[in-house]
C-alpha cells in the first residue's frame, strides 16, 4: 500500500516537473474523451427528445398506416406512409373490435392562414374528438371540438399554441377569429397548451390547426384517411387489439398495404436508427483515443530511455521487476486519466452550452465508461514501455550514462 502511494506520488512529482509535456501527452486522450462524451451526450439527448415526443400519445394508442413502414424493427427500404389510404368502412371495422374505445381518422391539408399579424402556409389536421386525448393535448383557452361538432360537421378548429402566437399575437386574440380554407370559413374555438419541441425527430404539434374530419370531407370528397388512430381500453389490450385489427384488415387488404404500429414501436425504430448513427460517430471519435494512446506509449518510451540509470539504481537497492513495471504503468495510467478527467470536464462545459439548443445530457454511466476507457488506454499503451523498463538488466542499467 505504501508502495502504491509512493508510486503515484513520485509520478505526480514527475508530471509537475514536466507540466507542458504532461499536458501535451494527455491532450490526445483529452480530445478523444471530449469528443466521445459530447457525442454520447448528444445521442442521449436526441433519444430523450424523440421519446418525449412519443410519450404524450399514450401507451394504449395504435396507429394504422397505409403500406409497410416497419419491418424487422427498422424502417423498411420501400417505406412510404402516403401510398394508399383508409376509408369509413375501415373505421366501422375498427369500432367493432373488442376493447377499442375510440377510432380517430386523420387527413392533412396545407392551407393559407390569414392571421392578424402574419400570413403563411400551415397544415390543418382533420380528425375526430378523440384526437386531443390520443395526442395528449391540453387546452389553454377555449375548448376542443367535441362529438357534436363532429356530428354536425361544424366549421370550427382549435389551433396549436405556436400558430396562435405567431399569427394572432396571443391565444386570447386568436379565439373567435376566422380561418379561410378554400373559401370555407372556420372559427377558432380553442388554443392548445404548448407541447414544446419540434424540429428534429418529430412533428411540431404546436404548429398545426385541428378540425373535425367530417367537416374535412368538404376537401376530401372521397372520404379517405392517411392515418387511423385506435385507442384501446388500456395498454394491456394493445397486443390483442393489434392482432385482431390485422386479422380483420387482411380480409380487405394485402399484407403490404397496411401497417399496425404502436408509438413505442415507431419510437424504437427511430431510436435504433439514431443509435446506429450515433455509434458510428462515437466510433470515429474513438479513433482519436487510439491516437492519444499511441502518443502516451511514445512518451513513455522516451521516459524509460531517459531514466535507465534511475531504473538501475532502484533495482540495485531492491526494486523487483514488478515494482519497476508498476511504477511506469502507474505513470501511463495517470497520464491518460488526467487526459480523461480533463476531457470529461471540457465535455461538461460543452454540453452545458449545447443544452441551450438541444436536450443533450451526460449520464453517470458515460462518465464511468470514459474514465474506465482512458485508464484502460493507459494500461494498454503503457505496458510495453513499462515492460521494457522492468526487463532492463540491473547491471547494464546502473552502468548506463
Amino acid at each position: 500500500m505504501k508502495n502504491i502511494i509512493f508510486i503515484f506520488k513520485s509520478a505526480i512529482d514527475d508530471f509537475s516537473r514536466n507540466k507542458l509535456r504532461t499536458f501535451l501527452t494527455s491532450l490526445g486522450i483529452l480530445i478523444g474523451v471530449f469528443a466521445v462524451v459530447v457525442l454520447i451526450a448528444l445521442g442521449l439527448g436526441l433519444k430523450k427528445y424523440i421519446s418525449d415526443q412519443f410519450e404524450a400519445m399514450g401507451k394504449n394508442t395504435i396507429f394504422l398506416v397505409p403500406g409497410r413502414i416497419l419491418s424487422g424493427g427498422g424502417f423498411s427500404g420501400s417505406a412510404s406512409s402516403f401510398t394508399g389510404s383508409f376509408d369509413n368502412r375501415d373505421i366501422e371495422i375498427l369500432k367493432r373490435i373488442d376493447n377499442v374505445v375510440s377510432v380517430g381518422p386523420l387527413t392533412l391539408k396545407s392551407i393559407k392562414v390569414n392571421g392578424l399579424i402574419k400570413e403563411d402556409f400551415a397544415d390543418i389536421m382533420f380528425s375526430s374528438e378523440v384526437l386531443p386525448d390520443i395526442m395528449g393535448f391540453e387546452i389553454e383557452t377555449g375548448r376542443f371540438f367535441d362529438k357534436t361538432d363532429v356530428t354536425k360537421r361544424a366549421k370550427v378548429v382549435f389551433i396549436g399554441n405556436k400558430i396562435a402566437t405567431d399569427y394572432y399575437g396571443s391565444a386570447e386574440n386568436a379565439i373567435g377569429q376566422k380561418v379561410t380554407v378554400n373559401n370555407v370559413k372556420f372559427m377558432i374555438i380553442g388554443v392548445t397548451k404548448s407541447k414544446g419541441g419540434g424540429g428534429m425527430g418529430g412533428p411540431d404539434y404546436d404548429s398545426y390547426l385541428y378540425g373535425p374530419y367530417t367537416t374535412g370531407y368538404i376537401f376530401n370528397p372521397d372520404k379517405k384517411f392517411f392515418r387511423l388512430m385506435v385507442k384501446t381500453t388500456n395498454e394491456n389490450y394493445v397486443a390483442q387489439v393489434k392482432e385482431d385489427i390485422k386479422k380483420e384488415f387482411l380480409k380487405r387488404y394485402e399484407e403490404e398495404e397496411f401497417s399496425v404500429v404502436e408509438p413505442t414501436e415507431l419510437l424504437s425504430a427511430i431510436t435504433s436508427i439514431f443509435s446506429v448513427l450515433n455509434l458510428i460517430l462515437v466510433a470515429i471519435a474513438a479513433i482519436s483515443l487510439l491516437v492519444g494512446g499511441i502518443g502516451i506509449m511514445n512518451i513513455m518510451y522516451v521516459t524509460v530511455s531517459d531514466r535507465i540509470k534511475e531504473i538501475g539504481i532502484r533495482r540495485a537497492i531492491g526494486a523487483r521487476k514488478s515494482d519497476i513495471l508498476s511504477q511506469f504503468l502507474a505513470e501511463a495510467v495517470l497520464l491518460s486519466s488526467i487526459g480523461g478527467i480533463l476531457g470529461i470536464a471540457l465535455a461538461y462545459f460543452g454540453v452545458f452550452f449545447a443544452q441551450k439548443f438541444f436536450p443533450a445530457y451526460i449520464d453517470l454511466l458515460t462518465v464511468a465508461i470514459a474514465l474506465g476507457v482512458s485508464s484502460a488506454i493507459g494500461i494498454t499503451f503503457g505496458v510495453f514501455p513499462a515492460r521494457k523498463a522492468a526487463n532492463l538488466e540491473p547491471v547494464e542499467a546502473i552502468r548506463y550514462e
Binding site: K2, N3, F6, S10, D13, D14, R17, K309, E310, G312, I313, R314, R315, A316, I317, G318, A319, R320, K321, S322, D323, E393, P394, V395, I398
Partner: protein, 222 residues
Amino acid sequence: MIKLVNVSKEYIIDSEYTFYALKKANVEIKEKEFVSIMGPSGSGKSTLMHIIGLLDKPTTGKVFILEREISKITDDQLSTLRNEFVGFVFQQFNLINKLTVLENVMLPTIYCRKELDFDPTDRAVEILENFGLKGKMNSYPNKLSGGQQQRVAIARALMMKPKLILADEPTGNLDSKTGHEIMMLLEKLNKEEKITIVLVTHETDIAAYAKRVIKIRDGEIV
C-alpha cells in the same frame, strides 16, 4: 558468507573472440570482514563486485550467498537479497536527483516486502544526523558536495541494516581529504556495526583501510 567458485564472466564480442571479464575466480568473504578488491581499471574488479552484489550473474561457476546458490533463486528473491542483505555505495553516488536526501535514504524501505522493525523516517533521520547532514534532509542531492552526496549514499546503503556493504570506488570522485573521511566512516561501520565491507579500488592507500586485499588483473585473481 559469500563464496564464489570458479566464477567466469564472458562477453562474446564476435564468433572468434570472447572477452573474459572474469576467469575462474574463487573468492570467499567471511562475515565482519573488511576486504578490498584491487586492480587497475579494466581488470574485472567491478564485474566481480557486481556479481558479489547480485546485480550480475556469472556465465559459469557458482555463487553462494548465505549458503544459497544464486542461480537457483528467482529474480524477485535476488531483489529481496539486494534490498535486505546488501548496501551499495558507488563512485558516481547514484542518488536519484529528483528525490530529496531524505527520500533517497528511505527509498530502499519502499521496496521491502517484510515488516520493518524500525520506523523508516526515524531511522533515516537518525543516520543522516549522525553523518552531519541534519540541515540537508530536504535538499536535492545535486545541491550537495561530493562528500555529502557520498555520505547520503552510505546512509541509503545502511537503511535496511545490511550485513554487507559493497563500495565501488567510493572515493573515486572525491578529493583525497574527503575520500579519507569516507573511508574512515566505512572503517567505523565495520568496527562498530560489524558490517562486512567489500571495497573496490585501484588506489593503494584506499585499499590499505581493508584488513585483506584481493588483487585482480585481467580477470584473474592474483
